[in-house]
């Protein structure tokens, strides 16, 4: 699973087999689920705040 921590400490996990990115608070409370097929890597560009995900579909998705 890919991981990214945003500037506020929220934790984003690219969970390939759950077909989505799960977002947690800095303490690990569930916040949101972003649907995406088989995500593996994840990052957020600090300037644009774009969420960028790559995965087993061999493509890059920008949210």
């Amino acid at each position: 699973m890919g991981i990214h921590v945003d500037l506020e400490g929220n934790i984003l996990i690219a969970d390939r087999n759950n077909n989505g990115v799960q977002v947690f608070s800095p303490n690990g409370e569930y916040i949101a689920h972003i649907r995406e097929a088989t995500p593996v890597g994840i990052t957020i560009d600090p300037k644009t705040q774009n969420i960028i995900v790559c995965g087993n579909e061999n493509k890059i998705s920008i949210f």
Binding site: M1, G2, I3, H4, V5, D6, L7, E8, G9, N10, I11, L12, I13, D15, R16, N17, N18, Q22, V23, F24, P26, N27, G28, E29, Y30, I31, A32, H33, I34, R35, E36, V40, G41, I42, T43, I44, D45, P46, K47, T48, Q49, N50, I51, I52, V53, C54, G55, N56, N58, K59, I60, S61, I62, F63
Partner: protein
């Protein structure tokens, strides 16, 4: 006695007056000739006592009458007043206060020194390709009671040092550090991608099992194209810019590149998973150095995958088969390690992702334990969350190693 004499005289009784004359004369003579002792008596029985409560009141009354003060501000004694808990967002005004103190250490009660204060804003990690001047705004307001209010607006996110100077000299507790953030996305509102690019293949812009994606200071997107054994770089719109690496074990070659990270110099650091090493490249993809070899000793690797850089520039790596985290300095010199195979707190079962938050805590994807573990910067276990499942906040089956 004189009163008594006058009183007698008004009674107009001559006989009585005459008879008393002798007595009064001798009395007056005594009074005239006597040498009076006017020093106070020293008697041990006399003492002065005061109620201590009243005494304090008297002192505080005296203090409140006023202070001796100069009109000169002491640079060393001035204080900065800031709410450390406030979130500072880019392009959004925030403020802090300055309390001016005199040389005598008393708070100034009057203003008038506004123009002696200057604010300097310095970005902590300056990147080469950024302009010197960021044109951040600030202004200072004289509150006319010895206090001043500074309003600022910073245009880019990041860590900044704020210097508060009086006549060009730093005041007490200057500079102080602030973190400027971008307005946070509301993740619950994120639904559909606005841009998708790439497909299965070996050409530029195509991928075979990309593992990690990061952005650099220019906003370019860098992807580890694992089974094509290369790194690809795209602009923020997904236009192909460049690629580096090919299959092999020489310098700059890869065998399943996995994690990627950039440091403050813009270097690209790649975990070369099946070569059991880390390679460091410049921002253009030119090979600089490498470290690590196969094994389970310090500085050795068994399938390194997740990689991240902490605020000190140290390199943190997860190892799929060694079930541990290793920490290296920016040059690749081994510093420390933590973790071992297991499912108890602090133990790991095939970790494959790592990140560091702004507090320096280390967050690890503990893949086969279906959980995320949080450690402090020394590797001490703090907490965990997750668990197996496909409900919210849980993680579905471990994904098998390929």
């Amino acid at each position: 006695m004189i009163e008594k004499a006058l009183c007698l005289s008004t009674q107009n009784d001559d006989m009585r007056l005459l008879s008393m004359k002798k007595l009064y004369e001798s009395r007056l003579n005594y009074l005239i000739n006597n040498i009076w002792r006017i020093e106070p008596c020293h008697l041990s029985l006399i003492q002065f006592s005061i109620d201590s409560r009243i005494e304090q009141t008297i002192y505080s009354c005296i203090l409140d009458i006023g202070v001796i003060n100069s009109n000169e501000i002491s640079t060393k004694k001035c204080l900065i007043l800031i709410n450390k808990k406030q979130k500072i967002f880019k392009d959004e005004e925030f403020k802090f206060g300055i309390i001016s103190y005199s040389r005598e250490g008393n708070p100034m009660r009057n203003g008038g020194h506004k123009n002696n204060f200057t604010i300097k804003i310095e970005r902590e990690l300056k990147l080469d390709d950024e302009n010197e001047e960021e044109n951040n705004e600030w202004n200072i307001m004289d509150l006319n009671n010895g206090r001043y209010e500074v309003k600022m607006k910073i245009k880019e996110e990041g860590k900044y040092l704020i210097f508060v100077q009086f006549n060009e000299l730093d005041i007490h507790s200057s500079p102080f550090e602030i973190q400027v953030c971008s307005k946070q996305r509301n993740y619950q509102e994120v639904l559909h991608p606005k841009l998708i690019f790439g497909s299965n293949g070996i050409k530029n812009g195509q991928f075979k099992n990309p593992r990690s994606v990061i952005t650099n200071s220019k906003g370019n997107i860098i992807v580890s194209d694992s089974e094509n054994h290369r790194i690809q770089v795209f602009d923020s719109q997904g236009q192909f810019i460049s690629t580096f690496g090919e299959k092999g074990d020489g310098n700059g070659q890869f065998y399943g590149p996995y994690g990627i990270a950039t440091n403050s110099k813009g270097n690209i650091i790649v975990s070369d998973e099946n070569n059991n090493r880390i390679q460091i490249f410049d921002s253009e993809g030119n090979f600089i150095s490498k470290f690590g070899s196969e094994g389970d000793g310090n500085g050795q690797f068994n399938h390194p995958n997740g990689i991240t850089i902490d605020s000190n520039g140290n390199i943190l790596v997860t190892e799929w088969e060694n079930h541990r985290i290793q920490i290296f300095d920016s040059e690749g010199k081994f510093i420390s390690k933590f973790g071992e195979k297991g499912s108890r707190n602090g133990q790991l079962n095939h970790p494959n992702g790592i990140a560091v938050n702004s507090k320096g805590d280390i967050i690890v994807v503990d893949q086969h334990n279906h959980r995320i573990q949080i450690f402090d910067s020394n590797g001490q276990f703090i907490s965990k969350f997750g668990g197996q499942g496909n409900a919210k906040g849980r993680f579905h089956y471990p994904w098998e190693y390929m």
